[in-house]
Subunit: 394 residues, 2 copies
């Protein structure tokens, strides 16, 4: 980042000004620390605009991200008046003031936009732009976005001092945004990869298309109703995605049999939770999601498999997957039986409380069902809002 | 982080001291920016010790990480005299000075260790500790490690000013380390997950155990010989790990047939590169590794599949996988034929240059083979040094 050098100019500053600079650097260090204390991109961005407006008050502040592939900029986050109306704008690289800041990597302070030949007018009637302060966000020497403030609140014009401060702030902000962005990409890569592999495994069984995605969505619906934390919902989601991975090891003759299984085949089929847990048991980072994989066929009364656990010995995640998994299996057709209608499936779930299923999970299921909210469309909405990739076709 | 408040004490400082503080904060902002400009943990740690020694010169500096599961501390990185001898030490939480700093979360400056009852003596004869300055590294309000300086170089004692500066520095360093650590965990989770799934897919074919791991290792050996960058080697590694994932869709009757395949079966088997590319083609983050998956059965003369590409139309990654894949297939037994010895396999690879294989890749193969370096042990060593998880049993 570029911090102004402590040259003669600074050493000639009067004491009050030195103290002010010292306070400013102190505050920047605090901001830097706050920004780097999370890799959650949404939180970094929100925090960024709060801090930007503390440094330089403006009617609207926004952060634009450069989409290198498309060669344009889009809003990452926007605050203040007219936020809603302008949220979906995209600006080509080099176009307008924000686009030219992104192209040149040079900050701009334009106090009379109407007089600037690059200015192309406000896109909506809801907001009138008078002045723009736009500074580039640079990571690894490349422009990754632009921080933009519109219309100063404290006077008619942005001041050189505002520009200097926003540039300092941008130097602290850019790496925090870039790190959170890289982390999100890495996370999405993992989540999308296990999701498409789950789809591929499932496709070996021609009768269960889309089962895993539906189970994930139902699980998140149940988990939300039961008040799970964001972290717990994240783990539930991964466990639900991985729950049938053990079927990689199930032979075609069993998996694709278009009829009920005989006793021996059923035994082979019943290996998949333990097989799945064995596959992922070798990965330290996935330790937390193992119980969901291994125990999703345990039963509340202890008569399930592979370990015959009962009641709360079974991890909550596994108890939730059990209900979601069974509901989906019942409401979709198999070659040897038709789908039940949801009402019939719901009463089967209700009847299984305390024997097959955990009564607490069934209570959450019935509460949702009673309110008309336990159906696939709603589940996909909830899941999609919580984890945008869940509802996507990836 | 804790930045000393600009209280009356500071405002009473003389000008030169104010300027010094200003320079110090400026430098901290620069350090913070440098530390947060990478998520590569090794680079963050190296940079950290360079900066720590610029702030407070000492005979040895080190960063310890807290292993919460084991309840002890281990060296993340260590510089200076005796670095080698002490690298493998582990210190229980609460034990000694570094252990007590980790337990209490309070910095310590001990200028006469011999007089401190917690001091347990130097673990090796190679180094004599006189004074210790140890500050906790805090992330999200929790101790994640300790930054430790041994024996000041500039005088007999560490000074309160050294302590204050190191605490400021630790406030900037801790989130950078924590972010790099979280990023590494996320990355490892992805890499380990695809590796164990590759193993599981491979296990459906009882005759190819360990094939994927060997191909990955041979690929990295070839890639290194060919001068690929670290990023390119990372992509090569992922592509090699995923190259046979399309076999998820290959029926048992073909995959497990203990005899050569007939024409129709061969056709089914030949679908796996395209199937694999289709699975991962839905993931934006994996775009770069697709050609390695889709084209590892293309041939230099254009007679391969699925797209009949020739020469440099085939991505380099795919050309490397082709040689590694074929070498491993030839040197391991199948139910219907015995393994070739390496010399025989090498001359087959050589004979295939320009027809089946890319001549450049074969040249690299022959250079390695000629130096006696193209064998599994060496390949696993190279791969293990480059990506520690590759050689691990995960």
């Amino acid at each position: 980042m570029t911090v102004p050098a402590l040259d003669d100019e600074v050493s000639l500053l009067p004491d009050p000004e030195l103290l002010r600079r010292l306070a400013e650097y102190e505050s920047l260090l605090e901001i830097s620390s706050a920004l780097s204390s999370t890799l959650d991109l949404a939180r970094v961005l929100d925090l960024a605009l709060v801090q930007a407006e503390a440094i330089c008050r403006a009617e609207t502040s926004s952060i634009w991200e450069l989409d290198e592939e498309r060669g344009d900029l889009f809003f990452r986050v926007v605050r203040g008046r007219a936020a809603k109306q302008i949220r979906d704008l995209r600006v080509p690289l080099g176009r307008g003031i924000v686009g030219s800041v992104a192209a040149s990597g040079q900050a701009e302070m334009v106090n009379d936009v109407a007089a600037d030949p690059r200015w192309r007018g406000d896109k909506t009637g809801a907001f009138r732009t008078r002045a723009i302060l736009a500074v580039p966000l640079l990571a690894h020497g490349k422009v990754v976005g632009v921080l933009q403030m519109l219309n100063p609140l404290e006077g008619p014009r942005f001041l050189p001092e505002d520009l200097r401060r926003m540039q300092l702030f941008a130097g602290v902000l850019a790496p925090a945004i870039e790190n959170a962005r890289l982390y999100a990409i890495q996370r999405r890569q993992f989540e999308n990869t296990v999701t498409v592999i789950a789809d591929a495994i499932e496709k070996r069984d021609p009768y269960t298309g889309g089962h895993v995605r539906r189970v994930v969505a139902y699980c998140l619906l149940l988990g939300t109703e039961m008040g799970l934390s964001q972290d717990e919902l994240g783990e539930l989601r991964i466990a639900a995605t991985l729950h049938d991975f053990g079927k990689i090891a199930t032979p075609d003759a069993v998996l694709r049999k278009p009829a009920p299984l005989d006793a021996e085949e059923a035994e082979v089929m019943r290996r998949h939770p333990a097989d799945g847990a064995e596959i992922f048991g070798r990965i330290r980072e996935l330790k937390k999601v193992l119980p969901g994989v291994r125990h999703h066929h345990e039963r509340h009364d202890g008569s399930g498999y592979p370990d015959g656990l009962a009641g709360e010995e079974i991890a909550l995640v596994a108890r939730i997957i059990a209900v979601a998994d069974t509901f989906d299996a019942m409401t979709t057709s198999r070659p040897y039986r038709l789908a039940l209608d949801p009402a019939r499936a719901a009463s089967e779930i209700e009847a299984g409380a305390g024997s097959q299923f955990c009564p607490t999970v069934v209570a959450a299921f019935l509460a949702l069902y009673g309110r008309g909210e336990f159906h696939l469309k709603r589940a996909l909405e909830v899941a999609g809002a919580m984890f945008p990739a869940t509802a996507d076709p990836v």
